[in-house]
Each structure stands twice: as C-alpha cells, then as structure tokens.
C-alpha cells in the first residue's frame, strides 16, 4: 500500500512552523515511515510531481508568488492545513496592513538609511506585492487550522496522526495557543 503523501510550503512566514514540524523530535523517524513527502522545503522538491493527500502551509500571502503557490497547493492537495498565525491571520507580516503599500515600499527601498539604490525593484521576474497580507482562507478553501507561533510540535504531530488515521482532531488546551 502506498504511503500518504504530504507537501509543505512556507509563504510569507519565517520557517518557524517548519522548525516546529522538526521539533517533534524522534517522532520524525516515525513520520518518515508513515508518509512520503512531495513538494516541500524538507526534501527540496520544487514542483508537485503527483497529487498529495495533505498540504501544510505556513505563512500568509504577501505577494503574487505566494498566491500562485497557494493555489497550486489547493489544486494538488486533497486536504489543506493552514499552519500557524501567519497562515491563519497574516501574523507579523500583516502589521503592514494598516500602512499604504506606497509608504511601505518607499520606506523599504527609498528612505531607509541603509539603502543606496534609489529605485523600488521592478524587475518583471519579481513577485508583485499585494495590497495587504492575506490569511490563506481568504484566498482558497482551507480544511484545518493549527494555530500557534509556531504551533506546538505536539499539536502538529497529533493533527497529522489523527488525519492519517482518519480520526477526529483532539485539541488539548495546552497546545492550542496563539503565540
């Protein structure tokens, strides 16, 4: 029997949620036995090569590439998990949401004391910045949410095990946190 396939990505996130996935300690060996990883920074597979069972995404969407990536995940994953505060509500990157995009870009690229270039990067290859940072569920349908900054390793583990065994998610008080 083939193993369930998992894909992961970090969009506008800090990779902290991925660190927390690794933080399941020795259970990572069990995880590798249980699942096969497809597109993920963990195995460095860049493109989906097959339909996946579970997609885990950390980070919200702050640019066009995030959106394209997220949509690809939705298309290629049966179950999509929004993992961590940034994915769920935008998180720290969303602190820019009250500031006009123009001001943000000018502050970062023109006015900052440490920049010499006097242009806002505009190469066609670069992702385009969105008007604000979006939580994932405001762009695609999300099936499960794992809050935390990062989500506790135990929460991620429990959630994965429950999903793989087709059991309901148990969410003990100690592991559901927003920080």
């Amino acid at each position: 029997m083939s193993k369930p396939i998992v894909a992961t990505a970090s969009l506008a996130g800090c990779f902290g949620c991925h660190m927390s996935i690794l933080d399941i300690d020795e259970r990572i060996l069990t995880l590798i036995d249980l699942v096969e990883f497809n597109k993920s920074p963990i195995d460095d597979i860049k493109k989906f090569t097959k339909m996946c069972d579970i997609g885990i995404i950390e980070g919200g969407c702050c640019n066009s590439e995030n959106v394209e990536n997220l949509r690809a995940f939705r298309k290629n994953c049966k179950i999509l998990i929004s993992c961590g505060e940034c994915a769920i509500m935008g998180g720290l990157p969303a602190m820019r949401n009250g500031i006009p995009v123009k001001e943000c870009l000018e502050e970062a690229y023109l006015k900052s004391p440490t920049v010499d270039d006097t242009i806002i990067p505009n190469d066609d290859e670069l992702p385009m910045i969105l008007d604000r940072v979006y939580p994932l569920h405001e762009i695609v349908k999300i099936d499960y949410y794992l809050p935390g900054c990062p989500p506790r390793a135990d929460l991620i583990w429990e959630a994965l095990v429950a999903l793989l065994n087709n059991k309901p998610l148990s969410l003990p008080y100690e592991v559901v946190k927003f920080d």
């Binding site: 505060e85 769920i88 509500m89 602190m95 809050p147 559901v176 920080d179």
Partner: protein
C-alpha cells in the same frame, strides 16, 4: 440583605438581592464568561459575552440582577457558539497580533479564544487603521488591541473626578481617547492599575514587560474561568 433563589441551567443558586447574575453565578461555582466586566466597577455591558437567556430573552448577565425564581440558561450550545462568535468578532475588528503582544499569555481576550478553541475566526479580518498613542510618560495606548471594554474609562479617574480615558467617535470608528494632560500626571500606582485592569495589551506600562516566561503565564496551562 435578603437572599433569593434562582436557577442557572437547572442548578439551584442563591443570590443576595441586587447581585447580578454573573456575580451570583460565580458564588455558586458557575462560570459565566465575561470580558468587559471587572470586579468593583459598575458593569458596562459592552462585550456581551456573558449573554444568557432569561424567559426567552437574551440579556447580559453582568448588568441583569438575579431575581427570585429566575430561570437562567447559560451553558447551552447555542449561547456558547454566540459567545464564541463575539470573541471572534473582537479578534477581526481589531488588529490582534498575539505573537507580538507582551500581554500574550495573560490576555483575557486571548484566553477566551483558547477557552472556546478558536482556531480561525468565522469572520473576515477587517484590518482597521488605528493609532498608537505613546505621549503619556508612563503608559502607552495601543488601540489596535483595544476591545472597548471601558475598564480604563471607568477605573482611571483623577482625584477631582476627571476621566483620563474616554470613548471618542461612534460606530465602527469608536475608540479610546487618552487625555494627554491628565495622563502626564498619572502616579505609579495609577499607571500600574491602568495596565492591570486592561484585559488586553492596549494599555501597557512603559519600560517593563515580558516578566513571566512562556509556560508560566496566567492562561498558559489553565483556561480562564477555571478558578470558579
């Protein structure tokens, strides 16, 4: 003071006359969630999280006195879901960045989020633009985190009875305003009181913070209301 009897979710309760449903429930070992309510302050009834059903009508338990023979419904799936909805509304109508907030772990709004296992709010985030006011020498006011509970308005008053904090604007623009002149004169005790009374991280004492490590904060291990 005379004593009266009433029930909450079928449980017989006693109350002193004049006591609100919230107070009486607490004394009878029943937790009704609250946010704007603060012991010793006149109830404001702003958050509505303590809403209960009495004789078919929804009422805030913090502003409604217990009455003889009153039949109160509190812990029903319908009411609990509506309470959760309000917690979610408060999250989306402000800018609550828990990971950046030094009140995290001790925040009553967050604690209610935990208690209701809020994973993602059912409502879309509204991202209001709100200003931070750091003029006062001892405290700063971060309106992004404010839930308009009015504890500061009610609790922080000068010796001659003037409000240091007050509501400004109306509707979705409503927000707490701070009187710069009066705030400049806040004593150490008043500044600390302002911070301690704020259920969220909207009023914080300057120059101190993150005193308690993660894991040992008020709501890290036990849900809000578990003391009742």
């Amino acid at each position: 003071m005379s004593e009266l009897q009433f029930t909450i979710d079928g449980k017989d309760c006693k109350a002193k006359s004049g006591q609100t449903i919230v107070e009486a429930a607490r004394e009878n070992g029943i937790y009704i969630p609250t946010l704007c309510n603060f012991q010793g302050m006149k109830p404001a009834g702003t958050c509505r999280i303590c809403t209960v059903k009495v004789a078919g009508r929804y009422q805030a338990a913090c502003t409604t006195p217990a009455a003889p023979g009153m039949i109160v419904e509190s812990n029903t799936p319908e009411i609990e879901d509506m309470r959760k909805a309000i917690v979610e509304m408060l999250f989306v109508e402000g800018n609550h960045m828990c990971p950046t907030c030094e009140k995290s772990g001790n925040c009553e709004l967050q604690a209610l989020g935990y208690r209701y296992t809020m994973l993602a709010p059912r409502f879309p985030y509204l991202w209001p633009v709100r200003e931070v006011d750091a003029h006062a020498p001892k405290i700063y006011l971060d309106r992004n985190r404010c839930v308009q509970c009015l504890r500061c308005v009610r609790g922080i008053v000068t010796g001659d009875g003037k409000h240091v904090f007050a509501l400004s604007q109306r509707g979705n623009k409503v927000g707490i305003d701070i009187d710069a002149q009066l705030a400049a004169g806040l004593s150490e005790d008043q500044a600390k009181k302002a911070m301690d009374q704020c259920p969220v991280g909207a009023i914080l004492r300057k120059e101190i913070g993150f005193a308690v490590p993660i894991g040992r904060r008020k709501y890290d291990g036990k849900p809000i209301g578990s003391e009742v």
